[in-house]
C-alpha cells in the first residue's frame, strides 16, 4: 500500500492545516460490477487516527458513506516547525495504511 495516501500540511502560526487524500474504493456493497453483474462486496475504511508527535488528536469511525478516495481536512493547534503529523486507517478487511509528514 505504498500509494495509499497523500498528506499535505501547512503551518500558519501555531495552527497546522492538514489535508489528507486516501486511495480507497469505499465500496458500499450495493454496487454491481458492470460486466459480470455481480455485487461488489462491501469494502470501506472503518477507522482513522491522526497523531501529532505521536499523540492522538483525532479518532474517527467511518461508514461506507464516506466518498470514494476519502478526503479529510483538519487543523492541529499548538504545532511548530519540525513536528510530525501522521494519519492511519484500517478498513473492514483489516487492511491498514499510514503516512507521516514533518511540518515546515
Amino acid at each position: 500500500m505504498a500509494d495509499a495516501m497523500k498528506i499535505r500540511a501547512q503551518l500558519q502560526g501555531d495552527l497546522a492545516d492538514v489535508k489528507v487524500l486516501m486511495f480507497h474504493p469505499m465500496e458500499t456493497g450495493l454496487r454491481k460490477d458492470a460486466v459480470s453483474g455481480e455485487i461488489i462486496p462491501l469494502h470501506f475504511i472503518q477507522r482513522v487516527v491522526a497523531t501529532h508527535n505521536g499523540k492522538t488528536v483525532m479518532n474517527a469511525q467511518w461508514s461506507r458513506a464516506v466518498s470514494k478516495n476519502p478526503f479529510i481536512n483538519f487543523r492541529i493547534r499548538g504545532a511548530k516547525t519540525g513536528d510530525k503529523v501522521a494519519i492511519s486507517w484500517e478498513d473492514n478487511n483489516g487492511e491498514t495504511a499510514s503516512i507521516e509528514t514533518t511540518l515546515n
Binding site: 458500499t28 450495493l30 477507522r47 479518532n59 469511525q61 458513506a65 476519502p70 492541529i76 507521516e100
Partner: protein
C-alpha cells in the same frame, strides 16, 4: 552502503510509527449505530436521545449536489469542550456517516466528502461536556451516490 542506507530508512519509518499503525485504533467501531436503518435507532445508538438545536455549529454543504457520490461537508463547532462530531444523512440506507472524536490539540473543525443516496437533511451532532447539540441543512441530490 546502499543496503545500509535502505535499512536506516526502514528503521526510521518503523520508529516513526509508519509500519505499526494498528495499536492506535483505540475506539471500537460502533457497529450498532452504523448498522441502524431508522434515524431514531441511529440517535439511540450514539447516545443522543435528545439534542439541542445550536447556532454554534456551522455546517457548510451545497444546497444542490449534482453528484450524490461526492457531497462536500465542512463543520466547525464553536461549542466549548467539543468532544465528538457526528455526520448523519437522514435518508441514507444507514443514516450515520461518520464519527470524529476530537482530542486535545485538534480544532473542532472537519472537512470531508460524503455519499448521499437521495435528497435529504444532513445533520451534524456535536457532543460537548456530555450533552448533544445539533444543526442541519437540506441537500438536494440530483444523482444518488449509493448504488449505480
Amino acid at each position: 552502503m546502499r543496503a545500509l542506507a535502505l535499512g536506516g530508512a526502514y528503521a526510521a519509518a518503523f520508529a516513526a510509527g509508519c509500519l505499526r499503525p494498528v495499536y492506535l485504533f483505540a475506539a471500537e467501531w460502533n457497529k450498532a449505530a452504523f448498522d441502524a436503518k431508522a434515524l431514531a435507532d441511529t440517535m439511540k445508538n450514539i447516545g443522543a436521545g435528545s439534542a439541542t438545536d445550536s447556532d454554534q455549529i456551522q455546517l457548510k454543504a451545497p444546497e444542490i449536489a449534482e453528484n450524490g457520490a461526492i457531497v462536500p461537508v465542512e463543520i466547525t463547532s464553536r461549542i466549548p469542550d467539543t468532544q465528538t462530531i457526528y455526520i448523519v444523512a437522514d435518508k441514507n440506507p444507514q443514516p450515520l456517516v461518520a464519527i470524529f472524536e476530537i482530542q486535545p490539540g485538534l480544532e473542532p473543525f472537519i472537512s470531508t466528502r460524503i455519499k448521499m443516496g437521495e435528497s435529504s437533511k444532513v445533520r451534524v451532532l456535536v457532543k460537548a461536556a456530555g450533552k448533544f447539540y445539533v444543526t442541519s441543512q437540506e441537500v438536494k441530490v440530483t444523482i444518488g451516490g449509493c448504488g449505480g
